[in-house]
């Protein structure tokens, strides 16, 4: 019961807060693709893999008082910051959740949302051969003009994350 909610709290706590809804979406997606048992269903949207279930669950957690959402006006858009409250930490402890590797979550959190969007999109098309994955990224993310260097870095990053999980 409420285990899925507790898992999200655990993740945000391990990250010591996450700035940006897009970043949060992509971090959870990447971890899910690496094998973390997140139950939230993702679909491909205009900005890459997106989970409405995750958005709704975050809203519920804020509503329950386990997380806070701070809004920051960035002029052309609003940015949201998420953090776990003291009640949220108690909730996590009561439900016996504490399973994320803080170093790996911190590594993800240190990356830009643009880079995470690229990484998540490559993972979304990971069933394709590498050249087709890259081709897909250029088709669906044409406007973002990802460079070969960024794409190569994202592939390396996926490899590092996978290696770290095997150790």
């Amino acid at each position: 019961m409420l285990q899925e909610h507790a898992k999200i709290v655990d993740f945000i706590a391990a990250a010591e807060g996450v700035t940006g809804r897009k970043k949060l979406q992509k971090m959870v997606y990447i971890l899910k693709k690496l094998g973390e048992p997140f139950q939230e269903k993702y679909e491909f949207h205009i900005y890459g893999p997106y989970s409405e279930e995750l958005t709704a669950r975050i809203e519920e957690l804020c509503d329950m008082g386990f997380m806070t959402e701070a809004k920051e006006d960035k002029g052309s858009y609003m940015q949201y910051k998420y953090a776990v409250t003291a009640e949220g930490l108690e909730f996590r402890a009561a439900l016996g959740q504490q399973g994320f590797d803080p170093a790996q979550v911190a590594e993800l959190n240190s990356r830009s949302s643009r880079f995470l969007e690229l990484t998540a999109t490559l993972l979304y098309f990971e069933q394709l051969p590498r050249e087709e994955q890259v081709e897909k990224v250029h088709i669906v993310k044409g406007k973002l003009n990802f460079t070969e260097a960024e794409i190569s870095e994202a592939f390396d990053f996926i490899g590092q994350l996978r290696d770290a999980r095997l150790q």
Binding site: T55, A56, E59
Partner: protein, 434 residues
Amino acid sequence: MEYGLQKLVEEKVFKDPVHRYIHVRDQVIWDLVNSREFQRLRRIKQLGTSYLVFHGAEHSRFNHSLGVYEIIRRISDDIFHGRPEWDESERLVVLCAALLHDLGHGPFSHSFEKVFDVDHEDFTRQILMGDTEVNGILTKVAPDFPQKVADVIAKSYPNKQVVSLISSQIDADRMDYLQRDAYYTGVSYGHFDMERILRVMRPLGDQVVIKSSGMHAVEDYIMSRYQMYWQVYFHPVARSAEVILRKILQRAKELSDTGYEFAQPPTHFTRFFDRTFTLRDYLALDEGVLMTYFQLWTTERDPVLSDLSDRFVNRRLFQYIDFDPGRDYRKLGDLADLFRKAGIDPDYYLIDDSTSDLPYDFYRPGEEEERLPIHLLMPSGEIKELSRQSQIVDAISGKRRTDYKLYFPAELLIDGKKKAIKQQIIEMLREGGV
């Protein structure tokens, strides 16, 4: 003549309660409708367990898919036809994607997918690309045509206008299901002026926008969507049936995993239990098959499986109360302990459920690029996001009312057995202590 351009000698017309008529002139569309995989959609209800609340809601994904096709046909053949921003060569791919967008849905999709960790979108892709009648028809158009249709449905097609028509916050899918679900459930919500919306839709750049003169029609659509969610899609009794359905499947899986010998071997499920299923196994399932198993399982030896199956088949649903998990999650644990002491397994008989578990969403204005919002085309040529222009939409967009329920079998608590403990449970539930 190329297969993709072939027309039927006489137009085929389906009578439809929502759109009055659905028109088919293309040979490809007619062949797809008659394919084995598309006909299977007749045996999968559009609204899952909602028929246990709204007895009219027996309509299928077949009806809905035809409805989405008809809306797209009207957009491409009437509204967008001849507009320089619209690429006419996309007509057939967008029609096929509209018709086939739900092809991978299985029986009682939402619960089935949760329990067996499968995704209907993967199956849609497999049906389009695999050894199926649908793939054979699409391949006759062009070898790369199945991939194109799959890309539109997966939202990774290069032409974003095409994707937006099938899947966006104001797309043919939603416009059909809102009206269709309203019609079949009999509720008075869900109606909006689709004719007006279609007339003010415009292809522009990499999206489809709405002329600002049509804003009030879109407001009506957003309100319909909001009301349908609360009145139909999030209905607590339909959620009770969904909870029981999910628990039946979980129980059957658990029994299989522990070597239980079923009186009626669950042949159709076996490869889903051990995750060796193929597309063929998936296509062999429909709601008739599942209901047959549930009926047979009402006499299984396992008391939990037989009881849950009986509840679902004979509509003996769980009772529910509102609860606040933020305040009462600890008490939920205490309550589960009392259930165990009373001899009732809380894993199957004390279930919390929230609206975030449901596959429906509200309009979101696309902050931080989460989802592409609805854009209005202003007389000046500017593009503005809907909720910034409409006070009505602003009032409800992104402000989701969350709803938590706790489900339990009320009659087991008053059956006269283990009275003292059950009395404690009843008092906790009555006090709103959970």
